[in-house]
Symmetry: C2
Subunit: 278 residues, 2 copies
């Protein structure tokens, strides 16, 4: 899920956090105890944050194949054993039922409210999926000197529903959602180079310039997030977005499915730099 | 120097070459003896071909600094010892005075004709520069399944003089020349990824889309090479071009300077794949 670390960090700091929000284990502990219910952008900088999807086993195999066939919008970081709420590859102490600051519940594919933990909703046939998130590639972009509009003005990164059909798998299908960041051509080239090193967090852009070629009629009007402003020397650069699996879940209509609430990500102990290849 | 391998290969084959033109040493031997005076595109596929610049020692140090400061248009593969016509790092048998099929002579920065060898022009203070050429990155683009318009229609890759000023060094200065290849956005992203692996042969593009931002008023009219045709779903992608040093040599006005004639490259024993990084 794309979000807005500058604004979020401000929001987080505005909460007057008295504990060390740079340590992922501390972030999880304060979320688990109910001390912290906010956004995770700007927290535990340098560490991987992940998109969350929880599905009943009957749907999980199909969703796993959907992710395998659509690695750019659905880059799989970890999958749990059925019924197991832990993902020890991402953090040893992690309990997925309590460690997200806000969960989103879907029943029969329809949104059914947000909750602060899922202990009561947990099922023995649940499978947990953690998917890479653009936070991880935005950090090296900024470290390389590129400027991210939504970090600077505290807006929400704009997202668009494209006409690019994902490869279907069983009941999971749908069009790809993309996030958009404006760059000058020279910076767009650098952004391709840098994000290509992070295939496990969406990787290289899927498209740049000419938004009409992927079904975006007005790049000034976001489908989700804030409407972007592009200057005359900038082009829109589009990355596959972690909202795509939510579109596929709506299409598959499982009786119960749970994701994170946008910007309330799973905070892990993996370092972003550990995901780099090449 | 950008050229047009499809057309050149045809031209070469049209010459009914009886020897093995896939072996760089054979190509050089037949050029050296005067058997072959044609283009080198399509010959010795898989091996590095290079741009050539030969300058008097009094200018060579400044040109070396010019290359160091402008590695994208002037990626240095090899520099000779002063007065030494060999570049053993590129080919053990190489004699730069005889092994190019056509040389271009500049006196006081002005074009003064093409010659088939430079034994009579050779000076004891000459320094030889071999610079990377786009042939080396076009091959992996095609191997990756991308289509190069100028390969397919046998045209000359279009070049443009930009308003991008190179970093000057002594008497060498001038604007950057770029070559242009049209791609769909998805292929443009792949082309950035692939050519980024070849920094010693111009590397990643310097610009894409919006040609007016680098001083190109009409991308349909080439400064050198053939006028390009872009389809509605293509954008222009621009790479720094090995013609740039010739612009800088014209500006520096050395009493005598020698380059290769366009498309008559230095054929080396280095493999293109050996230049890849990452």
């Amino acid at each position: 899920m794309n979000a807005f670390p500058a604004a979020l960090a401000k929001a987080a700091h505005g909460l007057d956090i008295a504990w060390d929000a740079t340590v992922p284990r501390e972030v999880r502990r304060h979320i688990r105890t109910g001390d912290y219910r906010g956004h995770t952008g700007g927290l535990a900088r340098g560490y991987v944050q992940a998109n969350l999807a929880i599905l009943p086993r009957d749907y999980a195999d199909e969703f796993l194949r959907f992710c395998q066939r659509n690695p750019k919008p659905c880059p799989l970081l970890a999958v749990s054993e059925p019924g197991d709420p832990r993902l020890p590859g991402l953090a040893e102490d992690l309990d997925i039922r309590t460690d997200i600051s806000s969960y989103r519940v879907f029943r029969d594919g329809e949104y059914d409210g947000d909750v602060v933990n899922i202990e009561d909703l947990w099922q023995e046939d649940f499978v947990v999926f953690a998917l890479g998130c653009s936070f991880s590639f935005e950090e090296p972009l900024v470290d390389a000197g590129l400027r991210l509009r939504h970090w600077e003005d505290g807006s929400v990164c704009p997202m668009f529903l494209t006409d690019i059909e994902c490869a279907p798998a069983g009941r999971f299908r749908g069009r790809m959602v993309v996030s958009m960041r404006p760059f000058t051509p020279a910076d767009a080239i650098k952004a391709v180079q840098i994000t290509s090193r992070y295939p496990r967090v969406h990787g290289a852009p899927v498209h740049l310039s000419m938004p009409e070629l992927i079904g975006i009629e007005d790049v000034g009007r976001a489908w989700q997030g804030d409407d972007p402003v592009l200057t005359a020397d900038e082009m829109p650069v589009f990355w596959a977005c972690g909202v795509t699996p939510q579109v596929a879940i709506r299409s598959a209509r499982p009786p119960l499915a749970i994701t994170h609430t946008p910007a309330h990500m799973l905070v892990t102990d993996r370092r972003n730099a550990s995901l780099a290849v090449g």
